[in-house]
Symmetry: C2
Subunit: 414 residues, 2 copies
């Protein structure tokens, strides 16, 4: 008799974004003429830049010829992409990595969801709260938790609250008692970013307690201050205790293209049941060789074009566009009386919901009154209750129109 994985039944409701999608579709069916502005799911809106488009056309032409055609790609990605990653994302910031420490993949969501597979089922997991739901849900599905309590906290997961008091960047807990820590900086959803000192305290803590940090830097391209760390490997010693995930999704408009990469340094280890140190690189290599094929050749060519002189200039302009939207939203909502956070080093605005409204109540009110879609903070965890995420991924017109509508509808009450 085929038995299902019962851990799936512990999952709360739907995954956050499909649930938002359902509510928006229902609203649109009821109000077919409403001009909905989507600042909910963090999806890019600008088309691919010319340097990437040219590289794609060339790569497609390669695939049309006997000499240029590419079948299965090399493990971990093509050298033309891996070398560009090493040079521009790491060496330029003083970090030396080996080429085979880079694993090109189809998304940081996938990698941050799959990485838990190489660790023991008994691993004690810590997340900051609010949290990108994939970190938690994939551990629930794997069987590392009990059921969720009334506030949505799963038994067996350690939640570290990111609050206004700690600037949404909690410090490591006292003592150990934790094996795996998910950190995200710039943070999704709060938009907070870790300083070198804050990240250094986490690395020191992980080394002291023999924990592994799973560092999600999918939004690193939005960091505007060059002094802030973009990679955890800018902190000495992190190569022994950290795995890092980076993405082209938001950096270059790749949400519909699917390319990212994960760094697993050879110096990072975990412990086997018999007490031996085992290379995490060896485990992740085996995992990917068994359960993954490489990213399409044409997509890897497109990703490599991000690093060309034109590609860097053009994608920087895209990022500047979104960050100007972030400024408009941040200042506009602040002027409307909202208490607003972030939006300086991330494409997200994090705001306190107007008095008395839960996150989902505000979601519904915002949709009803202004036809603007955002993301309820509580969808990211219990400490997100009473907060709300607004994405800067949109046209300038829509960002300005959203501010105008929100000021009109909420300016008086907030």
């Amino acid at each position: 008799m085929a038995q299902i994985n019962d851990h799936y039944l512990k999952l709360e409701a739907g995954y956050l974004f499909p649930e938002i999608g359902r509510r928006v579709r229902a609203f649109q069916e009821a109000h077919p003429d409403a001009a909905v502005i989507r600042l909910g799911i963090g999806d890019v809106t600008l088309p691919l830049v010319p340097a990437i488009v040219s590289a794609l056309h060339e790569a497609v032409d390669d695939m049309a010829t006997a000499d240029g055609f590419k079948g299965y790609g090399p493990d971990r990605g093509y050298p033309f992409l891996v070398d560009a990653i090493l040079e521009h994302d790491f060496r330029a910031r003083g970090v030396e990595l080996a080429a085979d420490e880079v694993f090109v993949s189809d998304g940081s969501k996938q990698d941050s969801g799959n990485i838990q597979e190489i660790f023991a089922l008994a691993s004690r997991v810590l997340v900051t709260d609010p949290v990108y739901p994939v970190y938690v849900d994939t551990n629930v599905m794997a069987g590392r938790t009990g059921r969720a309590d009334g506030a949505g906290r799963y038994e067996g997961i350690h939640y570290l609250a990111a609050t206004e008091a700690n600037g949404f960047v909690p410090d490591p807990p006292e003592g150990g008692g934790v094996d795996l820590v998910y950190l995200c900086s710039p943070n999704n959803p709060t938009g907070s970013v870790m300083t070198r000192e804050q990240l250094g305290r986490w690395v020191a803590w992980a080394r002291e307690h023999d924990a592994v940090i799973l560092f999600d830097a999918a939004y690193d391209a939005f960091i505007s201050d060059p002094e802030l760390p973009r990679s955890i490997y800018e902190i000495s010693g992190a190569e022994e205790c950290a795995i890092e995930m980076r993405s082209f999704s938001k950096r270059a408009g790749f949400t519909g293209m699917r390319c990212a990469y994960t760094i697993v340094p050879k110096a990072a280890t975990g412990t086997s049941a018999s007490g031996e140190r085992v290379s995490l690189h060896q485990l992740w290599s085996r995992r990917q060789a068994t359960k993954f094929n490489e990213v399409p050749y044409i997509v890897q060519r497109a990703a490599a074009a991000i690093y060309s002189p034109e590609g860097r200039k053009q994608t920087a302009e895209q990022i500047a566009h979104y960050m100007e939207n972030a400024r408009i939203l941040r200042e506009g909502l602040s002027a409307a009386g909202f208490t607003v956070f972030a939006g300086l080093h991330a494409p997200y605005i994090w705001l306190r919901t107007p008095e008395g409204l839960s996150s989902w109540q505000f979601f519904d009110a915002l949709l009803e009154k202004t036809h603007v879609v955002g993301t309820p903070g509580s969808g990211f965890g219990p400490s997100g209750e009473g907060y709300f995420r607004i994405s800067a991924f949109n046209s300038r017109e829509n960002a300005e129109e959203a501010v105008s509508r929100i000021q009109g509808a909420f300016g008086a009450e907030s």
Copy 2:
């Protein structure tokens, strides 16, 4: 203290194809002038057909404009692709499926590796032997097995031998005692194909014993006899007990493009620990929403072009090319004295190794004497020992040259 997933340490040696890659690289370093012909890993060699190339260029142009740009795609795939799949792969053969029963993915390897996640850890797994290694290795990694014995059989996996006596298509076992069954037809590696009657016996058995069949039809496009089933859903009742995986990799030269799909019918269920029937469709939907993003828009456009009139004609010509290679290899090796199987409905030749040689010994001998790379049967499981897989994916010249070299080197001894 971060503990690793100890189940990974049970895995035997490397994953098969990386191991072949290592041996071939070592040979090439020692013999830099040798003209190696690769008939090992089943990788296509012909470039993408013109209908697909045109569709790709158009899709790239879409991504370059504000109106045509696509970010995150719809769950389970774009309707333009899903509808083509339903129409041509199923309705044309009398099978009606709902659009949301199709899950477009980046590979059948991925799907056949990930599908076990939605079933209980205690599931009793049956594979036919020899077997595509991903089915077994992913269950080892998940913790459903003990260690492998001397022959490579993992404790806890049920192996059903595919032998010359049963035509490499074993019938279901007597009785039940099994929850999940992986079937592959046309079979990788043996090239055997299941008749309607054989597949019908499996479906009846699965329904009787409440087991779930994971049916891998990644090579269905190579079936030349229209009477043979291409989909398990051509067997009545399969929609209640089977999940099916199909791929564009070999069908349209997509190994470097990455597109496939999996069917999870809404009627298929498993049992929860509390004894309730749970929809497998609901579980797989949740799994994919949490751990996967859709296949790139441009790749889905390319896949849809396979179904256009030109695309069908052009990809059929590619398949005919490979099947003519299969004929040349089958007849040529047979003439050289080898006992040869399959190659009629699959792009693989399965042969008995010459007397006295193990599969890996023959691999090394073939590489040394003829510079031809094949795949050792034992790499697919203990019942593959003494057999060898030769792939038909290559140019006509290489297929003919391989036959000529093998006849020269082995013709006398076989």
